[in-house]
């Protein structure tokens, strides 16, 4: 099937696909996102392919094996979904495959031991859509992920793909922008700027050249929403950008993908190729006379390149250094031309907004934060993974209802949101809604959607130090406050965590925070204060303990803790003695062991290997 030269041809092709698709045939869908691949999805897929071939099932029953994008429920991978039943199997191993084929595919039965078990109610749930993790979700940006093969454009067509594009081609560019404005869509990368307004101010600038860019740099550690979308449904991003290009009159687009996401680059590249082949990109799109194509630009390992002006410099083939934003990029951006840069998730929402309308989108979410948001729920929580929920859900609901509560029954202490530009919100404020504005008022920000759950074993001073250290490494070095101020903040935080903290250090930290907020060149610097100020605000007692008592209440800061072995719990098995790199544990077999604290470097290995939980930190 070659290029499609008109909308009529596209509709005919779509109809052909729909007619050919036999939807009640068994299909095995194996999550092939980075997380599940790390967990061994490939051998599972191979096992399925082999056994189906061996048993000749392809002849009797047409079984499709689809490798899909990230389902989001990463902790429980490898994930295998069976359609049309809608069953989800967790933690599947190659050895489980024969049983699944026999029982579920041929026999129509459920393999009990592989399905979800609710940790609190012990309820066994087989159906994908009933599992709490998925039940509370409303997937728009993630709508296709896990259900389609991202490397097959026909899957995307069957799922309703490029219907938005067809509709947009029949709309006036101005009306497309109005639709996006009315939807209330705000930037999903962290800035939260109203998308329609951004597009509107770009077209207001007189120019014959405009660019549309996609920010796939996703530098916030703990966030992998954009990875999942780029890997699992690249066409939704592409379609969104084509619609944006039509609205803005842009003929060239770029998708900037961070270097650390090779699978995203691969899937996006093949999706672009497929789109071109089908006449959806390139010259005279679907016979409309409109030209537009997209290039991929790869990042080089620099968090600062997520900042819009730095990203544009990097795209042009230069260092990713930001510039003063006194003239906004919608006026002068890439190559000094009017440019619209939007985040992956923002673009992913655009096709649905055009198809289903602004009113539908605006009916979701809250007054000022419309629609849904994809969050990556990670850290000390039971169900880690990606969830998409309407804006306005409370932190508590997210952590407890969807996340299933704190790991190992520990106490919920705080969530960190917004990455290095965000802050920590304590448990006592967990009824706050998650939207663009509520968290900002509390001293953090929603950011790109990374939600890091922390428990009683997390030291909040260590968390502040971690983020400042991260920013020290990622600072581009152009401006004084960030380049020279962050290392001074790190010095102070290091002093505090190593027992050299002094009374005036907190005030000095606050002063440096103030200096960066007012004086730094770009968002990396101006928001660097958040992790420090929010932890000082909500966890001042921990700072005081480190400084005055030289103690780390959470038991994390190595200089302030001591390792010891509880003689009651120790069985004298000798395992820790063998593994200790300092050889500083002594004791006879079957007798309580002892750590020589003068030699102990607190590496944590003894605690790691002890099966009797006998190692204590004080």
């Amino acid at each position: 099937m070659g290029a499609i030269n008109s909308i009529e041809q596209l509709e005919a092709y779509r109809q052909e696909l729909e007619d050919a698709a036999v939807t009640d045939l068994p299909t095995v869908m194996i999550c092939f996102g980075t997380g599940c691949q790390a967990n061994g999805a490939r051998p599972v897929a191979e096992a399925f392919t082999n056994i189906i071939k061996e048993q000749g099932l392809e002849l009797n029953v047409n079984i499709g094996i689809k490798t899909t994008g990230c389902h989001g429920y990463c902790e429980n991978g490898p994930l295998v979904a069976l359609q049309p039943q809608g069953i989800l199997y967790l933690k599947v191993e190659p050895d489980d495959v024969p049983e699944i084929v026999e029982e579920s595919i041929k026999g129509g039965r459920i393999v009990e031991r592989l399905i979800y078990e609710d940790k609190t109610t012990s309820e066994m749930i087989a159906e994908y859509s009933e599992i709490p993790f998925y039940k509370h979700q409303h997937r728009i940006a993630l709508r296709n992920i896990g259900a389609i093969d991202p490397t097959n454009i026909d899957d995307y067509f069957l799922a309703g793909g490029y219907v938005g594009l067809v509709k947009a081609l029949g709309m006036k560019p101005d009306d497309i922008i109005t639709e996006v404005e009315n939807s209330g869509l705000r930037g999903r990368g962290g800035g939260g700027f109203p998308t329609g307004r951004k597009w509107r101010s770009c077209v207001a600038v007189d120019s014959d050249v405009r660019y549309v860019l996609c920010n796939g740099d996703e530098g916030d550690p703990g966030a992998f929403m954009d990875r999942s979308i780029m890997e699992g449904d690249p066409h939704t991003v592409i379609e969104g950008m084509i619609i944006g290009a039509i609205a803005l009159g842009a003929h060239t687009g770029y998708i900037y993908v961070r270097d650390e996401y090779p699978l995203a680059v691969k899937n996006l590249s093949s999706a672009l190729e497929a789109a071109r082949e089908k006449g959806l990109l390139g010259e005279d799109i679907l016979g409309s006379g409109f030209d537009f194509d997209i290039r991929i630009s790869r990042g080089g390992g620099a968090f600062v390149c997520g900042e819009s002006s730095a990203l544009m410099r990097s795209v042009g083939g230069d260092l990713g250094e930001p510039r003063a934003k006194y003239i906004r990029s919608v006026e002068r951006g890439l190559y000094d031309k009017p440019t619209v840069l939007n985040n992956v998730e923002t673009w992913a929402n655009v096709p649905e907004i055009i198809v289903k309308g602004a009113e539908w989108y605006a009916s979701l979410g809250t007054e000022d934060s419309k629609g849904t948001k994809v969050f990556s729920l990670v850290g000390k929580v039971n169900n880690t993974g990606l969830v998409e929920v309407p804006m306005g859900i409370s932190i508590r609901e997210l952590v407890e209802n969807i996340g299933g509560g704190i790991l190992n029954g520990k106490k919920f202490k705080a969530v960190q949101t917004g990455g290095p530009s965000g802050g920590c919100i304590p448990e006592r404020m967990a009824d706050l809604p998650i939207d663009f504005d509520s968290l900002t008022e509390a001293g953090s920000m929603m950011g790109s959607g990374g939600i890091i759950v922390m428990d009683e074993d997390t030291c909040m001073v260590d968390v502040a130090k971690y983020f400042i250290n991260f920013l020290v490494e990622e600072s581009c070095g152009k401006c004084t406050p960030c380049r020279d101020g962050l290392p001074r903040m790190l010095d102070l935080l290091t002093d505090i965590t190593e027992g050299r903290g002094e009374e005036e250090h907190v005030a000095m930290l606050e002063e440096l925070c103030d200096l960066l907020t007012w004086g730094a060149l770009c968002g990396l610097g101006t928001s660097a204060a958040n992790p420090v100020l929010s932890t000082i605000e909500y966890f001042r007692d921990e700072y005081d303990a480190h400084i005055r008592d030289k103690k780390c209440p959470a038991g994390v800061c190595k200089a302030l803790i001591t390792y010891s072995i509880d003689p009651e719990a120790c069985t004298g098995c000798g395992l820790c003695i063998k593994k200790c790199p300092q050889e500083c544990i002594t004791g006879e077999r079957k007798e309580a062991h002892e750590i020589d604290t003068t030699k102990c470097i607190k590496c944590g290995i003894c605690r790691d290997v002890c099966t009797f939980d006998a190692v204590r930190i004080s």
Binding site: A302, V304, L319, R323, A324, Y326, I327, V472, E473, E474, S475, C476, G477, K478, C479, T480, P481, R483, D484, G485, L486, P487, R488, D491, M508, E511, L512, D514, L515, W518, G519, A520, L521
Partner: protein
């Protein structure tokens, strides 16, 4: 050239639209300290942050670097508020901690009331010497001279100007523009017996046929001749005796 009016510290001045605040201030005798900006170098500015001032526009206030903030109608600038002073002092204290050897920074800081540094010394201080990583040198080399022998390498606090691999550059013409432009005099350029040394490379100088003073590197003459077609004999005499 559209003329507009802008208010600085309560007084109204005429300016050209999109002219930078710093220029308007200096034209009218208002002092704003600055280090990394040079009006002849379009790519300079925005780095050191000592020129930050309050910009009031459209009901909002923020601190902006006056060296590259464009004046537009309705703009009010305040150069000396408690906020501006506090941030300026903070920036200077950080610079003092970074380059304790720089007299320029010490003097500028003292003028703002900063005489001491409360922070630990920057670990890389010996390598920093007087360099505030403002990129004036590399901007001049790329934009004004057009040679790009040096570039700003590394990220963060280790950012500094260097030749590739820190080896003597074969495209450097020894003109010394970088050293002249540097606001803190951090680039070492020495001359002895008709040989100039800069960026670890020795340049033989051409001497004036009239006064005998070595005045320009041969490499620079070669480059000018190559790029402009000017006759070599033009350089036999120094500018004073041409």
């Amino acid at each position: 050239m559209e003329k507009i009016s802008v208010i600085i510290d309560g007084r109204t001045f005429e300016a050209v639209k999109d002219q930078c605040v710093l220029e308007v201030a200096h034209e009218n005798g208002i002092y704003i300290p600055s280090l990394c900006y040079n009006s002849e170098v379009a790519s300079s500015g925005g780095s050191c942050r000592v020129c930050l001032v309050e910009a009031h526009q459209g009901g909002r206030m923020r601190l902006v670097t006056s060296c590259n903030y464009p004046v537009r109608e309705g703009l009010e600038i305040k150069t000396d508020t408690p906020l501006v002073q506090r941030i300026r002092r903070g920036v200077l204290e950080l610079l003092m901690a970074r380059v304790p050897d720089s007299e320029v920074i010490r003097e500028m800081a003292a003028a703002e009331g900063v005489t001491g540094v409360r922070f630990r010394r920057d670990e890389g201080e010996n390598e920093r010497y007087k360099c505030i990583a403002c990129a004036m040198c590399t901007n001049v080399c790329a934009e004004v001279v057009g040679v790009s022998a040096i570039a700003m390498v590394n990220r963060g606090a280790d950012k500094k100007p260097a030749t590739p691999y820190y080896k003597p550059s074969d495209v450097c013409i020894g003109c010394g523009a970088c050293a002249y432009a540097c606001p803190t005099g951090a680039i070492t350029m020495t001359e002895k017996d008709g040989v100039r040394r800069i960026w670890d490379r020795d340049f033989n100088m051409v001497t004036c046929s009239v006064c005998g003073t070595p005045y320009i590197p041969e490499a620079q003459v070669d480059w000018i001749v190559r790029t402009t077609g000017k006759d070599r004999s033009f350089f036999d005499k120094c500018p004073d005796h041409r």
